[in-house]
């Protein structure tokens, strides 16, 4: 889960990380008042969770409050990469002398967080993660000890960072680290951190990505979710502990296990079909969960056939079968359902379903081919 810039900045402020003066609004008229309060020039920034909003006209400079209003109304009325802009952030515009990029994220190889910093201006956050594989300046953070001041000094030293801003930089990095831990973030990025011509050290933009696995102890963060970036069903699915992603094909998929789901979607593509979704039943499958999953699939008007591919392990095929049985009794079977089951309790699963109007397949590939044939693919 990603936070908007204005949300991230509000957290930065709470953690002692200096940000420019600014306010968020959803009303263009208010942009004028905000600009008057802050003093022009200001930048008007679209709050939308896409990459590269700047190049899509999502960031405009305004020299007067009137211009700020105009810019805000322009941005608020447009769609950026298909998403409507609900809010704009109006920030004081600054004259920049130097720009830096700061990132705390997890290194999968070392299984520990790292802090990276480099002088930027050219590298965007979107591509900066590529730097993980390059030899950019970084320090590794022992998760049992945490980021230490000397590590920030090491980074600053390597970059010839001006000593008079070192104290400010240290506070920013320690604030980022504390925020990273407290919020169960997967990534905290600051881009850019700037030294202004009037000699201030400020964070102009930042990104926070939160760890979905920590949702159970970060419940308040659910309020920050942006429902615009989620397709129909994704919210519903999450309530039931299902992993669902809407795609644009017509073969509805219901699979257990993430890897098997991906392999099923790949197989559909290889056979000339188009998956309508990713749907991983996940752990702890019960009847209600299967009903909810089928409900989401059948509510998608694009779905012309449902492909159920289950390999029992942690999940038992009979549990899934009882769920399917209940769902079919509830919704009927206007849309053909193809089932492949293997693994734990597969035979009893198939036995439960055998009197229902279901097409059985002996293998995943066979099931996929049947589904593609039904929707009229090759």
């Amino acid at each position: 889960m990603k936070l908007h810039e204005y949300q991230a900045k509000a957290f930065f402020k709470n953690y002692g990380i200096p940000i420019p003066e600014g306010h968020v609004t959803s009303i263009a008229r208010e942009a004028k008042q905000i600009a008057e309060e802050i003093g022009c020039p200001v930048v008007v920034k679209a709050q939308v969770l896409v990459e590269g909003r700047g190049t899509s006209g999502g960031i405009l400079l305004a020299k007067s409050p009137q211009e700020a209003e105009k810019a805000a109304s322009e941005i608020l009325s447009k769609k950026i990469h298909g998403l409507s802009v609900r809010n704009v952030l109006i920030d004081e515009a600054l004259s920049i002398e130097k720009e830096y990029f700061l990132l705390i994220t997890l290194d999968r190889e070392k299984r520990m967080p790292l802090l990276m910093m480099y002088e930027s201006g050219t590298i965007y956050i979107e591509t900066a993660a590529n730097a993980l594989f390059d030899n950019l300046d970084r320090v590794y953070i022992d998760p049992l000890i945490g980021l230490q001041r000397y590590q920030v000094r090491q980074l600053a030293n390597r970059l010839d960072f001006q000593p008079k801003y070192l104290r400010g930089l240290t506070e920013i990095c320690l604030g980022m680290w504390k925020l990273f831990c407290d919020m169960d973030a997967r990534m905290v990025a600051i881009n850019p951190l700037v030294i202004t011509k009037d000699q201030r050290l400020l964070v102009l933009d930042g990104k926070i990505t939160l760890d979905e696995n920590a949702r159970f102890r970060q419940e308040y963060l659910v309020d920050f979710r942006d429902y615009d970036v989620e397709a129909y069903g994704e919210f519903e699915a999450r309530k039931h502990g299902l992993e669902y992603i809407k795609m644009d094909g017509n073969i509805g998929c219901l699979v257990n296990g993430a890897g098997l789901t991906m392999a099923t979607l790949d197989c559909i593509q290889d056979n000339g079909g188009h998956p309508a979704n990713f749907m991983d039943l996940g752990a702890g499958v019960n009847i209600d969960k299967v009903i909810a999953a089928l409900d989401i699939l059948l509510n998608d008007p694009q779905v012309k056939v449902v492909l159920v591919n289950i390999f029992g392990g942690m999940t038992r095929c009979d549990d899934i079968a009882y769920g399917l049985q209940a769902a079919i009794e509830k919704y009927g079977t206007e849309i053909p359902i193809i089932v492949h089951m293997g693994g734990t309790h597969a035979e009893s699963g198939i036995k439960i379903l055998k009197d229902l109007d279901i097409i059985f397949a002996p293998s995943m590939i066979d099931a996929v081919k049947k589904a593609v044939t039904i929707v009229g693919g090759k």
Binding site: D184, R186, G284, F311
Partner: protein
Amino acid sequence: MSILINKSTRVIVQGITGREGNFHARQMINYGTQVVAGVSPSRGGSWVLDEKVPVFDTMQAAVEVTEANASIIFVPARQATDALLEAADSGVELVVCITEGIPVQDIAKVYHYMTTKGVRFVGPNCSGIINPGEVKIGITPEDCVIPGKVGIISRSGTLSYMIMEAMKERGIGVSTCVGIGGDILQGTSFVEAMEMFETDPYTERLLLIGEIGGLEEERAARFAAYQMSKPVAAFLAGKSAPPGKRMGHAGAYIEAGIGILKSKIEAFESAGVKVVTEIPELLKLLEK
């Protein structure tokens, strides 16, 4: 015999009184695994699984009495970090964590704590380990795989089961299958498991089952090229995955261009590792 576990491994099941823990403890016993105890806070003193397995309140007590050297964790995500640290502190040498949904920062801490204690950590969010026909510490369905000489390392449980079943139908067996899990951070990586297989006399060749996300497959490709004498093949899932979405597994996402399947395929190809994305092709490859 093969890597990590054998018939003399003495296993404690953490979370044995839960539905999953109980079910899979029985499956493991039936398969030939020595399940010597269960741990379930406040259920200590009772016996489960036909009154044959004693339950303890703590790992410390369970290890003291049973001299177990491995543990498997079925504890729900909210309590799993505590269970993992308790296992690390108990004196067992191997901890396999089946639980899905543990916060990633906790896993970083657990991994480093286990490393300081010299404990081998497998998982989380994994299917565990199976030496077909002999023993398993995990949840792999027993009848999907036969003994043989292919060592498997997989990020996905169910996908590995289906592949092993397809192999079984062709008479291709497995020495050990290690589920390393689908999370962002893994206690045991591809490379670390490959190191163990390289010196295992029962494994002739290796199959890696990978997916989108991270760069561990790329590292595995380099390791296969420079440090393995045994042939390595790879099956990869997720070529149809859209960027920016988490594909079920916490670790399966493409972000900032990192984690795409194309990069993994290229890495394996340039390392001389046969890489496929379709099961029929994989079977042809393994039959050679």
